[in-house]
């Protein structure tokens, strides 16, 4: 007979269950991603997951932590999958491997491992790539839509390309890669085109980038499911999307010729992934409900600023890292009122 302390009964919940449900919620986005950008993501995810588990196991062993308990929590896999989703599908293998290894070893474990990392590990890994290998990160494939199939690679050919860096002879890099819609828009606007001209190319779809709009909608669906399953709560995603939508609506209404509208920003790039899956990483987010709203809004706002006036096409990663750094400050000023204390 074991003597326990109250409460003697607890909910059947665990860190592993939380992470597993997050992975399920990513499925629609992954499927859409594969539909529009080919099977490259599958290879990247496998590479990333393998690297993450290996790196996690080595560091856990070095730190003398129980291997099975922490390897099975699923947190390293989430980091790997999120990173893989941010990379171009045909990016060379060492890109995802080095980013994931950096994320797990430096961003996560050197700060204390699960629950103790002040910065979002996936975004640290991505930021390292973004400043170290910017050229490779812009080599996105155009979405595969009927009549537009410029790069129709099978799974094997995709894997070979990722590992060797050499395309099958019938393709050439220049012919099949294209910038992301956010990138294209930036470049076109910088060349003096109006918003209408800049957004009229084949890269642009109904709301935002072609293909990207569907990936973002699928991500949104997964995110809403996470909300319903009570794995995440609404404060961060809603505040983040508001932080993105409000300034873009203001700028668009002032000068629709030079600024993209809110719909383009909400469905372009990694907006939804950032709002529902990256910024909601609780470890590196603010604590209280009010704090989380400040945190989310800050990410949205900084993302908009970077996208519009900054040096990178998408700003989610840097915005998340900047707001991660602001979390202790936010937490200090957003402690909720305790029951029975003066309002």
């Amino acid at each position: 007979m074991s003597a326990t302390f109250a409460p003697h009964d607890i909910a059947p919940n665990s860190v592993a269950r939380v992470m597993r449900l997050v992975l399920y919620a990513l499925a629609p986005a992954v499927i859409m991603h594969v539909v529009f950008f080919g099977p490259g993501l599958i290879v990247q995810m496998l590479l990333g997951t393998g690297t993450a588990l290996l790196a996690e196991a080595i560091v856990l062993r070095l730190r003398g932590k129980p291997l099975r308990q922490f390897l099975s929590d699923g947190s390293a896999i989430i980091t790997a999958i999120l990173l893989a989703m941010c990379l171009p599908p045909l990016a060379p293998w060492w890109l995802v491997v080095s980013a994931v290894a950096f994320a797990i070893v430096l961003a996560k474990h050197l700060f204390g491992g699960l629950g103790a990392n002040p910065f979002n590990p996936a975004m640290v890994g991505y930021a390292v790539l973004l400043v170290s290998f910017p050229a490779q990160l812009t080599q996105w494939l155009p979405p595969q839509i009927a009549g537009l199939q410029t790069a129709d690679l099978g799974l094997l050919e995709t894997a070979r390309t990722i590992f060797t860096g050499v395309l099958p002879p019938r393709f050439s890099w220049d012919a099949i890669t294209s910038p992301t819609p956010l990138d294209a828009l930036r470049t076109n606007l910088a060349m003096g085109q109006t918003m209408q001209e800049a957004a009229s190319g084949s890269a642009f779809g109904i709301f935002g980038g072609r293909g990207w709009d569907w990936v973002n909608l699928a991500t949104l669906a997964g995110g809403i499911w996470l909300l319903a399953a009570r794995i995440i709560r609404w404060h961060i995603p809603v505040a983040l999307l508001a932080g993105l939508a409000i300034p873009s609506a203001v700028m668009y209404s002032i000068d629709p010729g030079s600024y993209a509208g809110p719909l383009f920003h909400l469905t372009g790039g990694a907006s939804m992934l950032g709002a529902f899956f990256i910024a909601t990483d609780p470890v590196s987010a603010a604590t209280s409900d009010r704090g989380r709203m400040v945190y989310g809004f800050g990410i949205g706002l900084i993302t908009y600023v970077i996208r519009t006036w900054g040096g990178y096409p998408d700003g989610i990663a840097f915005a998340v890292l900047l707001m991660n750094a602001a979390v202790p400050l936010i937490d200090r000023y957003t402690v909720p009122r305790i029951y029975g204390h003066p309002r």
């Binding site: 007979m1 074991s2 003597a3 326990t4 302390f5 109250a6 409460p7 003697h8 009964d9 607890i10 909910a11 059947p12 919940n13 665990s14 860190v15 269950r17 939380v18 129980p66 308990q69 929590d73 947190s75 491992g113 699960l114 629950g115 103790a116 709560r233 609780p282 470890v283 987010a285 604590t287 209280s288 409900d289 989380r292 937490d331 402690v335 909720p336 009122r337 305790i338 029951y339 029975g340 204390h341």
Partner: protein
């Protein structure tokens, strides 16, 4: 008073009350020996008035309070006192506390000194004192002396009496059974307490899944209203949310008022008593029967016939389990109280005390076990469910670091230890236990600081006084000098 505003945070837990409410409430046979701890109240001192070898009658006082937080204790069987010695007690996690042991002679010879009184002829102060003599304490589990609580609340005029029948712990059904089968006792208790508080306003709060208790109480209130129309008793239904039955949570649910963190319910014009306490008051006043028994829920998948029993205080728990058909196979855990806030029992020979509302013999299927503790991932589930609006995850960090100022700032002392945070934690961190462990050090720190500031104030007061005297002396001297010069 409108019900419907949800309590802050909280949980919707699956209830396990059905098995214990299928059978009617019945009396458990008195045991051969009762063990009565002297400290069956929150704190304060009670001294034994009998010694080994004394013969005692049923209901005879055997221990007397030495302070206003102590409570009278009565013999719960007639017979001979065999020992006054430390015995293991359930409310001390099985550690020994001074107990009076009485061998039952089986005759149930009543103490003739206990007789019914007409409460309406008593002054409120007298009535409170008389209630105290009945040994009545809060039967919801806290065991705070009822008379003391009433006297505290008398300072507030026009206080509203709130009878707490919102039994939110998922396994406990003793209050529900009491209200179903003895609604008239509850209502009479309400009238007596209203007289003691000089108020005409009383609300009985029950949960929304107690239809039988609702109809029984409605009938009893109607009958009482015909007899004594000036006391208005109303019934309020609260949502079944744990811990809506917490005193402060219930008040906020019903009135939208918050009890100040350093105050009492009477600060917002309320006084809260458990329905079982009210019924115990009624039996003492109407029948002259002091608190010698209480209703105990005996439940869990490890007991053959779960039921609610009226049990003499001091009865060993093993005797109560035997009254319910004994154990079944596979008992993994014995708990006194509920699954959320009860205490684990090291052995089943411990006595039923005034605060024992429930005994659970749980098997593996009843309680979800704790897995290996993982680090906090700061998910915030804990603060989402916290009824005190705290940030348990921050308290957890500061408790680990032993940072007393931060623990105080984040409201450790406002934690009601309901265990909601613990229940939802994906990392399965024993938060409630961490907070219980951290409280004594912080309480001592706060007390020593208050002591220090009191000493400082005293010292400064003395210094001011001395300075003033010195100044007066000098002034007088100066006057004298002037007078002499002239």
């Amino acid at each position: 008073m409108s019900a419907g505003i949800a309590v802050f945070g909280g949980l919707r837990l699956d209830t396990h009350k059905r098995s214990s409410t299928l059978r009617a409430l019945r009396q458990a046979a008195p045991p051969a020996e009762v063990v009565l701890p002297l400290d069956q109240h929150s704190d304060g001192v009670t001294a034994a008035t009998v010694k080994p070898g004394d013969t005692v009658l049923l209901g005879q006082p055997i221990a007397q309070p030495q302070s206003d937080t102590g409570a009278w204790l009565h013999a719960t069987v007639s017979g001979r006192v065999t020992a006054v010695e430390p015995r293991p007690a359930p409310h001390r996690q099985g550690r020994p506390t001074l107990c009076i042991v009485i061998a039952n002679d089986g005759a149930d010879r009543h103490d003739p000194a206990n007789s019914p009184v007409d409460y309406r002829t008593l002054e409120p102060m007298q009535l409170c004192e008389h209630i105290g003599r009945g040994g009545v304490v809060g039967l919801g589990g806290a065991m705070f002396p009822t008379a003391t609580k009433l006297l505290q609340a008398q300072a507030t005029t026009g206080v509203h009496l709130l009878l707490n029948g919102a039994e939110c712990e998922p396994w406990i059904s003793c209050d529900e059974m009491l209200m179903r089968e003895r609604a008239q006792d509850v209502v009479l208790g309400a009238r007596i307490l209203c007289h003691a508080l000089q108020t005409a306003r009383c609300t009985v709060a029950i949960e929304n899944d107690m239809p039988d208790a609702h109809s029984a109480l409605t009938a009893a209130i109607a009958a009482a209203g015909a007899e004594e129309p000036k006391v208005a008793i109303e019934l309020a239904v609260v949502p079944r949310v744990y811990p809506a039955g917490g005193e402060r949570q219930l008040i906020t649910t019903l009135t939208d008022l918050e009890v100040p963190h350093d105050g009492l319910p009477s600060d917002v014009g309320m006084v809260c008593q458990n329905v079982g306490t009210a019924a115990a008051v009624a039996r003492w006043i109407r029948d002259g029967e002091p608190l010698i028994s209480r209703i105990v829920t005996v439940t869990g998948s490890g007991v053959r016939e779960p039921a609610n029993l009226e049990v003499r205080l001091g009865t060993p728990m093993s005797h109560v389990i035997a009254e319910c058909g004994g154990y079944l196979e596979g008992v993994t855990q014995r708990i006194m109280g509920g699954s959320m806030m009860g205490v684990a029992l090291p052995q089943d020979s411990l006595p039923i005390i005034k605060g024992t509302n429930c005994v659970i013999a749980a098997t593996a299927e009843d309680l979800h076990p704790r897995g290996a503790e993982m680090p906090c991932i700061r998910c915030g589930n804990c603060s989402f469910v916290c009824p005190a609006l705290l940030l348990p995850q921050q308290l957890h960090w500061h408790a680990q670091a032993g940072d007393l100022p931060a623990l105080e700032r984040y409201g450790l002392m406002d934690c009601i230890e309901c265990g909601c945070c613990d229940y939802v934690c994906p990392s399965q961190i024993p938060l409630a236990q961490r907070f219980r462990d951290a409280k004594p050090a912080l309480a001592a720190n706060i007390a020593s600081r208050q002591q220090a500031s009191l000493s400082k104030a005293r010292f400064e007061g003395r210094q001011d006084r001395l300075d003033r005297l010195e100044a007066e002396r000098r002034a007088k001297l100066e006057e004298k000098r002037k007078a002499v010069k002239k």
